[in-house]
Amino acid sequence: MSSYQLDLLSGLGINILLALSVYCPMATGQLSIGNAGFMAIGAYVSAILTVHFHFSLFPALIIGGFIAGVIGVLVGFPALRLKGIFLAMATLGFGEIVRNFFMNFLKPLTGGAYGFRGIGNIPLSISWIWGWVVFFLLFFFFLSRSRVGLVMMATHDDETVSELIGIHIVLLKVSAFGLGAFTAGVAGGLYAHYYLYIEPEFFNVWESIHMVLYVIMGGMLTFWGGVLGAGIFTLLPEFLRFLKDWRGAFFGILIIGLMIARPSGLITREMLRISFWMPYRKGVKL
């Protein structure tokens, strides 16, 4: 494979993880436009650990993801009081706080706005990235088939009723927010150690919006939707290179067209039902 193809595949893997990080809170009805912030935390924490404290990559990634997850839980609690567009605004603000933090603080460690150089002590191969992708895909696959997956969908559909049938929605929503943040943090760590250079500007609002678009376009009701959306967003612009200057405009039109044709995303739960892995069908036959 050429290095161009390798770069593309690595970017795809990271984008799939980022899509899952947005899908997870969204599956419980929470829209986060601040996941670039969690990604930044994972990227900076893991890079600081490997560069300045000579950690090996695996523990650095885990710690980076874990710290992002803990901060996600802390953000998740006040976020419980907000819904819809208000939650989106609050998480957007959070993302900006994180970006500005790494712009202005910890400069001796991270270089601030000049960027964090010299992460390259550890070579990161593409199989590292895809190993994590496979792990998270398996995790979300089993989660979606479990009772928790069903409980998440119930909470997404109707919180009041969910609580009245015995679901602890505070615990569920905060966990989902934290799990999403952990996923974004791991993706950030992989990003830093694949591209070997990060700067706060990488983790701006536009990056967060991209992640949300993956999920909205691919389909919000199943994690496969985010995976497909990430695939389209990463690969399709490459196939449209022949359009030259019109590439961006054409891509924009394509998004609008898709939203008109399939407002709930490309993959819906009905499509998965038909397929062999339909959850719970096996259980019906006693």
Binding site: R147, L150, A154, V161, G166, H168, L171, S175, V284, L286
Partner: protein, 253 residues
């Protein structure tokens, strides 16, 4: 009805601003009977359900289930203690099949650790599935199990709500107008399901406007008007009660 009550409302009041929706209400519900809660529109019946299930906190008074004080508990805790309900306006999950509605009704019954991510034992799973199947068959929904619940006819949607509540194996089942909008045949089906549920030993408290239904199935009836209990007793007693007639029809000249 001499045994210790399953549910007790002790001087419960609920004010919305200046409006006293429920006023100094005392109810005793004993195990194993079907109770009716009736009254004119706006009498506070649904508010009583919302107080029992913790949707609203009581302004004053206390609510006890089997001696446990529910007054300051969150709705999910109250549900796990054994109170399930249905809703006056149907509230189903738009993305779920009928079968999934029954499974979600059982969500807190499994013994799995870490909130249900780890698989549960096969025997337990089978017994939960059997219970879910039983709930569906009881309400005649087995054939519709694979269909999205919101695409079913109106009467069947109400039955899905009852099946979802029943799947939690509650001690007390609160039904808010279970036969509203149903045709005669559907009403009969629900009534026969209710009498079977009753045979399982589940206590039922039902809000209902159709007097034929209330008088037909209830062992004991509470009558509410303007948030206060104006009468209680057997259907025969209620039928003769002048205060009740007055509340429904107005004072005669």
């Amino acid at each position: 009805m001499k045994e210790a009550p399953l549910l007790t409302l002790n001087k419960v009041s609920k004010a919305f601003g200046g409006l006293l929706a429920v006023n100094d209400l005392n109810l005793d519900v004993s195990k194993g009977y079907i109770y009716g809660l009736i009254g004119p529109n706006g009498a506070g019946k649904t508010t009583v359900f919302n107080l029992i299930t913790g949707v609203y906190p009581c302004t004053s008074g206390s609510i006890l289930l089997d001696g446990v004080n529910l007054t300051s508990l969150k709705p999910y805790r109250i549900a796990r203690l054994g109170i399930s309900r249905t809703f006056q306006t149907i509230r189903l999950f738009p993305n779920m099949t009928t079968w999934e509605h029954v499974l979600i009704g059982q969500n807190f019954l499994s013994q799995s650790k870490i909130g249900g991510i780890l698989p549960i034992r096969k025997t337990e799973k089978m017994s939960l599935r059997a219970q879910a199947q039983e709930a569906l068959r009881l309400l005649g929904l087995w054939e519709a199990r694979e269909r999205k619940a919101v695409t079913l006819p109106y009467g069947s949607q109400r039955k899905v709500e009852i099946a979802r509540a029943l799947a939690a194996r509650p001690k007390l089942l609160l039904l808010d107008e279970p036969t509203a909008g149903m045709n005669v045949r559907e009403t009969e089906e629900v009534l026969s399901a209710l009498s079977k549920i009753h045979e399982f030993g589940i206590t039922i408290l039902v809000i209902e406007h159709a007097m034929r239904v209330v008088m037909g199935i209830c062992d004991h009836i509470f009558v509410l008007n303007f948030g206060q209990k104006i009468a209680e007793g057997t259907p025969a007693e209620i039928r003769k009660n002048e205060g009740v007639l007055e509340a429904y029809l107005g004072k005669g000249e």
